[in-house]
Amino acid sequence: MPKIIPVPDELSQPFWDAVNQRRLALQNCTVCGKLQYPPQAACQVCGSADGLEWKDVEGKGHVATCIVIEDGRLNRRMPDQPYNLALVTLDQDPTVNFYSNLPGVAAYQAPIGAAVELTFEEVAPGQLIHEWRVVE
């Protein structure tokens, strides 16, 4: 069953453009050096709006924890139940985290603490989303 399709907006368009080019680009504050995800209009640490730039980051992370969605509310995902929803921290800055369905890992089998690497999944023609695959 296909996943739900993100709709880019003015703020997020550069992010999704990068994803569609199979890159992970996060906001980086040139004033305080903090990476920021999801994108915001200003740096949430120092408040700078002018200092935000897009920066490609290395797609490496770790599985912090995971749940299994057994009775969610999203119509489009119900046929997928049960499925993993993991929390992945970015190695480059572990205070930045992402969700992942851990493609290739059976529900209930998420390896907590395992290393993961960036991958991409097509959710609509021309629209990718970022995902994370366990490193064997």
Binding site: P6, S12, Y37, I67, L74, N75, Y83
Partner: protein, 438 residues
Amino acid sequence: MTSSNDFRWRRDTDGLGVWEHRGKVAIAGYGHSPVDRRWDGVNLDASLGAYTIMACEKAMEQAGVTIDQVDGIVCCDSHIAGGSGGSASNWAPRPYFDAPYDSEYGITLINAQWLIGAMGFKNVKFAPTGVPTIGEMVGMASQAVGDGVCNTCLVIYPTGNLEGRYRRGGENADDYARGARQWTVPWGNHGGNDFINIFPHNQYCLKYGGEHDDLAPFVINQHKNGMLTPWGFNYNHDIEPISVEDYKSSRYILNPLRIWDCDRPVNASAAYLFTTAERAQDMKSQPVYVLNHSQHNFRFRTTQPDLDEVEMWTDKQAARMYEGAGLGPADVDIFNPYDGYSIMTQFFLEGFQWHGVKRGDAFAFYSGDISVKGPHPFSSSGGNLGNGRTRTAMYTDSIEQLRGTAGDRQVAVKAETALCAFTTPSSGGWLMLGKYPS
């Protein structure tokens, strides 16, 4: 008329010192409607509007206040599935009825303007719009009375629920994720405090040891307390108590979150009568005094809050509340934190260090005697888990415990201060009440 936008009422930053109106504002009455699982869409005597009128009348009657004496109405105009529920929470459109039920107001939404018309209030000078949930409303009303914006203020929290599965329509039925949902929904997170708190809860179990089902004694105790609460859902609907086995064999929603970790949406309303401590002395029922109110709205630093953030947020909440009340953890007799999902309550218990519980101690505390007749009567209200998703049990129980009118639920320990809340780790508010003004 004064609105919420033109007076500063929030106490939502660090270092504000003792509240300037400490002990000078009181709650003089409360009223609850019946608590139904759902409104049937037909019986207007059991509509959210009718139930709200009933709750207001009871609160005024208990305080001995007439309708003409009420000069403030603080009413949350978002129904229980609203706010964070977004378009998935909308039950409209529908066929409407004769006035005052000729729009969504009175049916699934209530606001001050609708109440003024339906009940005939004539002297209301403070009826703000855009009122937040009850966790913050009680602070707004306390500050309004303390500042003299109004003198006799009804605080009303309606919680509507209709037929049909909760939050299954609207954007949750959409194939596309817009706005903030683009960062969560593609992976299955439709939002809500179940998702927000289950990840930190898992991290909690990993960090401190223990497992999810160590919540069982707490959840079971909430149900027990709910069966002692005459104005709650469980008491009035003969809900069977649950055992450890029932809990451990119950179905998962967001594994490891079980159905019994979730509160039950209901159709109900509650009202509270706030006034000055001075006026409350002459009213019909024993007042309880507001010793402080505080609010918080912490921003997520990334997609999903983690345990470090949640612990930092709840530490801050405790520091603000204790500072404003001029009290510390050892001074709090009654502790009624929010339990709308059982997985978040340990963060409050440990942040506020009630009965000396520190980080990582909650599961051991839950396994001890937390009954209302024991030495640690934790969450004596039964909370949402024991009473339904009214989000008011914590407040009413606190009032009753301080008055000594909690009946079979009355604690055996001293009950002179009470801390109560509807809040999540990231947003909401706390209220400290006292049996005495100082």
